[in-house]
């Protein structure tokens, strides 16, 4: 099944406008000044949905919906924001749990109606939703179960991040549609003449990339002795100007390469500063003084980034039976968003939207987080997917012995 890029763009726009509608309702009712920061469509393993919420307590207002689209949607606040919202609607409400719950549920009801109505209008159809359900849960448990499907282990998730101006709190809208009705609708609203992405192959590509992330995590473990797990691998789709927002405003240390071939694009391996120091020292025989990032740390990170990059892209090349070359790594130490910004601009010279491949890895032993982000050029990604033989999906590793007989 193929979905054209334009209709993915339209769906992303719909979700974005829906989130804006919802945010305006919130602003009108509470006086809270909020803006929609990012809206993206993500394809990921159903078990990984909401992994980014780990470690915090949330309040959610959840609905089921059916009609032209089916599935679940939820508005997620952190607990503190929920109190503020309740109080701004009715002063003192947060002191009375029943009142707080009712206020938040009502806000959620109004916001999410705005969100869903936009979809129904665009589709010239109706989407009914169930009464709102109030929930308080930890981390990703606040999200509804991703829809089950015998055929698809991966799901599409529409996620909007809403930023509360002047506060460091965010809230989120997640929509988890059933695969089949969504796929049908994307087909119906697509342009058969336009450049299309085979969705099923995109899933296979995602699985290959998951293998690549595991390979990269294995490489980290081998070089540092730190047991490292690949966490999440996902492909997101967003307007090019939203690409830099995928990465935080903190300072990162890492490497960037341009890769050429099918696919082509840019690949970043990024560590926050604390992780960079930890991982570099695990690679070096002696510990250095202090906790700032030195040239020695950077040299180690440069080589680690190089090896992680290869671990990540080699699987693509081997499955596609082609070669993907990359430039020597360029070391970066800068604000995360300004690292991505020139890469998004370079890709943005030829396309309005972009696919972004995001992977994270983590370890329990020391504070250590690594992120890999790939920004492929759309045309070459499309070619790669066309060439992709789904049967070869697990042949990510080359056999050195056999080739050097």
């Amino acid at each position: 099944m193929n979905v054209d890029i334009q209709s993915l763009g339209t769906f992303n726009q719909l979700a974005h406008e829906g989130a804006q509608q919802a945010t305006q309702s919130l602003a009108q009712m509470t006086g809270i000044d909020a803006v929609v920061d990012v809206t993206k469509i993500t394809l990921l393993d159903r078990a990984d949905v909401g992994e980014g919420l780990t470690g915090s307590e949330f309040v959610g207002v959840q609905f089921g919906f059916e009609g032209a689209l089916e599935g679940e949607t939820v508005l997620v606040f952190d607990t503190e924001s929920a109190d503020t919202i309740a109080d701004s609607l009715m002063p003192g409400a947060s002191d009375d749990p029943a009142m707080a719950q009712s206020s938040v549920t009502e806000i959620g009801n109004i916001m999410m109606s705005g969100f869903i109505d936009g979809w129904a209008d665009y589709l010239d159809s109706t989407i009914d939703h169930s009464p709102p359900e109030y929930i308080e849960k930890s981390g990703k448990d606040v999200l509804p179960e991703a829809p089950e499907s015998d055929e698809h282990q991966q799901v599409f998730v529409f996620k909007s991040e809403i930023e509360w101006v002047g506060e460091s709190v965010n809230f989120y809208i997640y929509m988890l549609p059933e695969y089949e009705p969504l796929a049908e609708m994307m087909m119906e609203h697509g342009d058969p003449e336009a450049d299309a992405i085979p969705i099923d192959k995109l899933q296979t590509f995602n699985e290959m990339t998951t293998n690549g992330t595991q390979q990269a995590a294995g490489n980290v473990e081998m070089m540092t002795g730190i047991p490292t797990d690949a966490e999440v691998t996902e492909i997101s789709f967003a307007p090019i100007e939203d690409v830099p927002k995928q990465i935080g405003t903190d300072t990162y240390v890492g490497t960037v390469v341009e890769f050429t071939g099918v696919p082509s694009g840019y690949l970043m391996v990024l560590f926050d500063e604390v992780s960079a120091v930890n991982v570099a020292e695990a690679m070096m025989p002696v510990e250095t003084d202090g906790d700032s990032v030195t040239d020695q740390h950077k040299a180690a990170i440069e080589e680690l980034g190089n090896i992680m990059t290869s671990g990540f892209v080699d699987g693509w090349a081997n499955v596609l039976q082609t070669s993907v070359d990359h430039t020597p790594p360029r070391l970066v130490h800068d604000m995360g968003r300004s690292i991505v910004d020139p890469l998004a601009a370079q890709v943005g010279q030829h396309q309005e939207h972009a696919f972004i491949i995001n992977s994270t890895m983590r370890t329990d032993d020391v504070e250590f987080n690594a992120e890999i982000h790939a920004l492929p050029n759309e045309k070459e990604l499309r070619e790669a997917l066309e060439d992709l033989d789904v049967e070869r999906a697990d042949e990510t590793e080359a056999d050195v012995e056999q080739i050097f007989e």
Binding site: S310, A317, S323, H326, V400
Partner: protein
């Protein structure tokens, strides 16, 4: 002791290889790109070149091709993070005698070298 030339753009990796090799080998040079690798090879004609693939200016496969063309008896082991089958085939075509993928452990480096240049 066999003479070895190390070609890798990463200082970190050159240090690591030096530590592994210097016990049983004489390091005749450490270079950062394929052009320097060919130059130093021609000056020193070492018994072995440990050659990275992804390097600035000129990559390790091109450099291997030139070294092997000028001296078919040269010994070159690719030592690279690239694990792509097509790249390995290119390396074989250029005349590489061995292929070590990073990250490596010391024993596998020693073993690969013993296969190509027995001490």
């Amino acid at each position: 002791m066999p003479d070895v030339l190390i070609a890798d753009d990463s200082e970190f990796m050159r240090n690591l290889l030096r530590e592994i090799l210097e016990e049983d080998h004489t390091i005749v040079g450490e270079v950062e790109n394929g052009v320097e690798a060919v130059e130093v090879y021609k000056e020193e004609t070492p018994d072995l070149v440990m050659m990275d693939i992804v390097m600035p200016i000129r990559d390790g496969i091109e450099a291997t091709d030139e070294i092997k063309s000028s001296n078919p008896d040269a010994n070159v082991i690719m030592c690279t993070s690239v694990g792509q089958e097509e790249k390995m085939k290119e390396a074989v075509k250029a005349g590489a005698d061995g292929y070590i993928t990073k990250p490596f452990q010391k024993p596998s480096v020693i073993e690969a070298i013993e296969d190509v240049v027995p001490t």
